[in-house]
Subunit: 324 residues, 2 copies
């Protein structure tokens, strides 16, 4: 049984040791670069904390846990090309620092590295882990496709949006916990329940991200407040606001969305005022809390080791409370 | 034991039945499009013909054989972006018909489909098949990276070129035969020897492609004769010519390479004359035949079923003789 700090250290140590070859340099260097940019290592921690929910850590759990982190970073490398994002964690994205072809091909190689890591799982779990990893990876592609499609669609419904974030974000957290459950020796039914815990956490976290983008503390969130509003992103807040607004307010909102050359601060303040008047933050918070409550309710139905559960709950709750 | 025609039919039937979902359309449609463009299905045939070299066909061999075909087509989808190739098998490439983001993301999903297919192998072979597939996939990425790197390098040596085509092309043919060997019940040593057979065939085929590009019958080859010369590609012919040429002929060759706005026919004829004077086609043919001879020599050292071996040899030799 290991603490979050110990697990986090194992993850970081092993990530830099990944046997990524030196040559051809243009293929392998971007993989190390992206992984070294950091991140919370949230997904592998979720795998490992779930894997010890029965009270013991499977010594072979680390590499499969890293597979999820490497896969996630592969999707970031390709998504950044598709979104033309110049920065990743405050540093130049791979297609900016090298070029687009490099980001495509290094991403492909990184995807293979993820498969190499998951293949290190105990052989008795390999078939199940592969099947579930493949299904999850396809769903993540589907989520990114829906996200791209939504840029061209005026009317995105709440249900469509929730399905998009479920696929793009939540299924990988679900898989992280399922994989932990597989390696922790849980039965199939509990593994599926653990998946649901992760999926609900993922949906909650995504709504929390949408909220924090507008209502977070810039220092703590680490990015520009109102970035989603400035970029006209159809977040859960915006979709709800458009749903709830009467004719007048709706046309005010659409006015802000279609306005060009407007001062960003002014636009953020204007849209935020409308959100406030409509009670959007309260409404989104209720929805978010419902996902978190469901996650913890489900987790309680699974027979876990007391100490392992404490570690897990402390970790999950620290993430939920990070902006309080 | 099945004939090439029967195997080819099974491959084509199953490829169109691949459970590729309908939605999101922009993700999955390009996968079906690219697979439907056809091709010789050379790699899955190689898997299946090798798998029956012991006289029996493993009923579970088809899906893993298709994994190699789907993987190969995934690399084509991404390579076509990197090479800015507008056409694939005479039709618009995916990034042309849709757009670049679609070709990146559909390619990623196609890669997952390849993993889904290989996971259908008998579970007792899964770990070995995964490990070897992962290693091969990384090598194919390395080969493509070297190919991209070589565009920026003036002096590509013969050894560098052969290593590039080994990685980019030959290792996947090697893996096809190794996978067939695994599913056909061969011992590990024979599986590795089968890999070498495929690798040598692959190197020979690539040199044959280089030759046919200049000396092939346009009708039979199905593409413009001299395309590599027009595009200034550093093929095995060109590298050998630059190596063998004296100062004068070398500067003539470099003159053709650096010439702009030259008539293509004239350029092809000029370079071809130099190749002929230097005896390049004979030289490349000797090298090519050495690879083919080594492949068949190795194959003879493996204990095979007589009929299975006949099927295999007829297939391999029909490909070698296609322009003979």
């Amino acid at each position: 049984m290991e603490s979050i700090i110990t697990l986090r250290k194992s993850i970081d140590t092993r990530l830099v040791q990944l046997e990524v070859k030196a040559q051809p340099r243009n293929l392998y260097e971007p993989i190390g670069y992206l992984l070294a940019l950091g991140g919370k290592r949230f997904r592998p921690l979720l795998v490992l904390l779930t894997a010890q929910l029965r009270g013991m850590q499977n010594p072979k759990a680390l590499d499969p846990a890293l597979a999820v982190e490497v896969f996630h970073n592969f999707t970031l490398m390709h998504d950044d090309i598709m979104d033309a994002a110049p920065l990743r964690r405050g540093q130049p994205s791979v297609h900016e620092k090298w070029n687009q072809n490099t980001a495509i091909l290094s991403g492909d190689a990184m995807f293979v590295k993820a498969y190499q890591l998951i293949t290190k799982i105990d052989p008795s779990y390999l078939l199940l882990a592969m099947n579930r990893f493949n299904e999850t990876a396809l769903e993540v592609c589907e989520g990114q496709q829906l996200d791209l499609d939504f840029e061209q669609i005026v009317d995105v419904s709440q249900a469509d949006y929730l399905e998009m974030i479920r696929l793009k974000t939540a299924v990988l957290l679900g898989f992280s916990m399922e994989l932990g459950g597989i390696m922790g020796g849980f039965g199939r039914e509990d593994q599926e329940r653990l998946y649901k815990v992760g999926e609900n956490l993922g949906l909650g976290f995504q709504l929390m991200d949408d909220l924090l983008d507008v209502y977070g503390d810039q220092q703590k969130v680490g990015k520009q407040v109102g970035g989603d509003i400035i970029a006209n992103k159809k977040t859960f807040l915006m979709i709800n606001a458009l749903d709830l607004a009467g004719t007048d307010v709706r046309s005010q909102l659409n006015g802000w969305i279609s306005m060009r050359d407007v001062d960003s601060m002014e636009k953020v303040a204007g849209v935020k005022n409308i959100f406030n008047d409509l009670g959007i933050p309260q409404l989104v918070k209720i929805k978010m809390d419902a996902y978190f409550d469901e996650a913890f309710r489900l987790l309680k139905t699974i027979d876990c080791d007391k100490e392992g559960l404490d570690f897990f709950n402390n970790f999950a709750k620290s993430l939920i409370k990070r902006e309080g």
